[in-house]
């Protein structure tokens, strides 16, 4: 992998969402697939996006009601999601389940750093303003609220600026 030498000199990886950077032998390289195999993830995304819209998870009003403690809805969604996810992960680990390609399913532990506190708070501030975390931003654009493209571009800019100043921020 051409980036190996580079990664060694870079600060420790703190991103829990980029598996290929956390796992040296990422599953992607083991089973090469033509590009259209990725469409199965698009199908899951469609199913997920419909859930987002139909359960009003992407509603600015629902997020406000959550933070104003005026509705149980979002707490119920996230709470149920965690319970269902945790039971699934427990069963996957217990039965050492494999992927549809027969690969082992692996998990990587997250390490604590100050970013989860500082970055987490910054994210929360933005979440209550936009009424959307990154997933719902995409779904909102899909519902025809095209101005949210601006919010998404700004979120990409925020990500870029974080990357630019990363070495100078408390870890």
């Amino acid at each position: 992998m051409k980036n190996t030498a580079f990664n060694q000199s870079a600060p420790a990886e703190t991103d829990s969402e980029v598996k290929s950077l956390l796992v040296t032998n990422a599953s992607e390289s083991d089973v090469p697939h033509p590009w259209w195999h990725y469409l199965k993830y698009t199908l899951v995304g469609i199913f997920f996006g419909i859930t987002f819209v139909k359960a009003e998870i992407i509603s600015w009003f629902r997020i406000q009601e959550m933070f104003r403690l005026e509705s149980f809805h979002m707490y119920g969604v996230i709470g149920t999601g965690v319970v269902v996810g945790a039971i699934s992960v427990f069963l996957i680990k217990k039965f050492k389940a494999r992927t549809i390609d027969g690969e082992p399913i692996t998990f990587t532990d997250k390490t604590f750093n100050k970013g989860q506190i500082i970055g987490g708070t910054i994210f929360g501030l933005g979440w209550a303003m936009t009424g959307a975390c990154p997933g719902p931003l995409f779904a909102q654009i899909g519902t025809g609220a095209l101005v949210i493209i601006v919010t998404l571009l700004s979120a990409i800019a925020g990500t870029w600026v974080y990357g630019y100043f990363r070495d100078r921020l408390p870890v």
Partner: protein, 186 residues
């Protein structure tokens, strides 16, 4: 069909959101986490020689296909599964919004705050541009967002994700109760 078009209850949505975790694992040992895509887009389009964006983003292509699906899910539910009834909003929220001139509570995104016209006002600019910036900056600094930490992280019993989730909420409560009233009054 009416079951599909009426708003889904929290527990149906919660089950579907939770099931995304094992589905992605079974399909290809993938971890649920959406904000990582913002980093991949930076890495693909504007890496600018920044170490944080110098990695093989193509290995994460599946996730970009996933968010394209989320956009399409938004399109499909709007075209064919739209609820004909007005959206229910808590009366206290309706009153507080009316006091700052936000009276249109149709739809999921309040048009009085999030629209092209609103973008040219201080209030709309702050909500969309500053808010979006904080979402992008904060989620990457935290190493994940609601999906990566709150759903995937808590499902795998990662205590750093619990810390992140708690501070997502802390930030949200601070904004909603201490800062947002001033922004909405702009």
């Amino acid at each position: 069909m009416e079951l599909l078009t009426q708003p889904w209850s929290w527990w149906v949505a919660g089950i579907f959101v939770g099931l995304t975790v094992p589905i992605l694992l079974f399909l290809g040992n993938k971890q649920f986490g959406i904000s990582g895509n913002l980093r991949h887009i930076c890495a693909a389009c504007i890496p600018a020689n920044i170490p944080f964006f110098k990695y093989d983003w193509k290995k994460e292509t599946w996730n970009l296909f996933f968010v394209v699906g989320i956009i399409l899910g938004g399109v499909i539910s709007t075209l064919w599964l739209k609820d004909p009834n007005p959206i229910q909003v808590h009366p206290n929220l309706v009153n507080d919004l009316a006091a700052v001139g936000v009276t249109n509570i149709d739809g999921l995104v309040p048009a009085d705050l999030f629209s092209w016209d609103s973008l040219l006002t201080v209030r709309g600019f702050v909500l969309m541009v500053v808010g979006g910036f904080l979402v992008g900056f904060g989620s990457r600094y935290a190493g994940g967002c609601t999906s990566g930490h709150a759903i995937m992280g808590l499902s795998t019993l990662q205590w750093p994700s619990l810390v992140a989730t708690i501070f997502f909420m802390v930030g949200g409560f601070l904004m909603t109760h201490l800062i947002l009233p001033f922004i909405l009054a702009l």
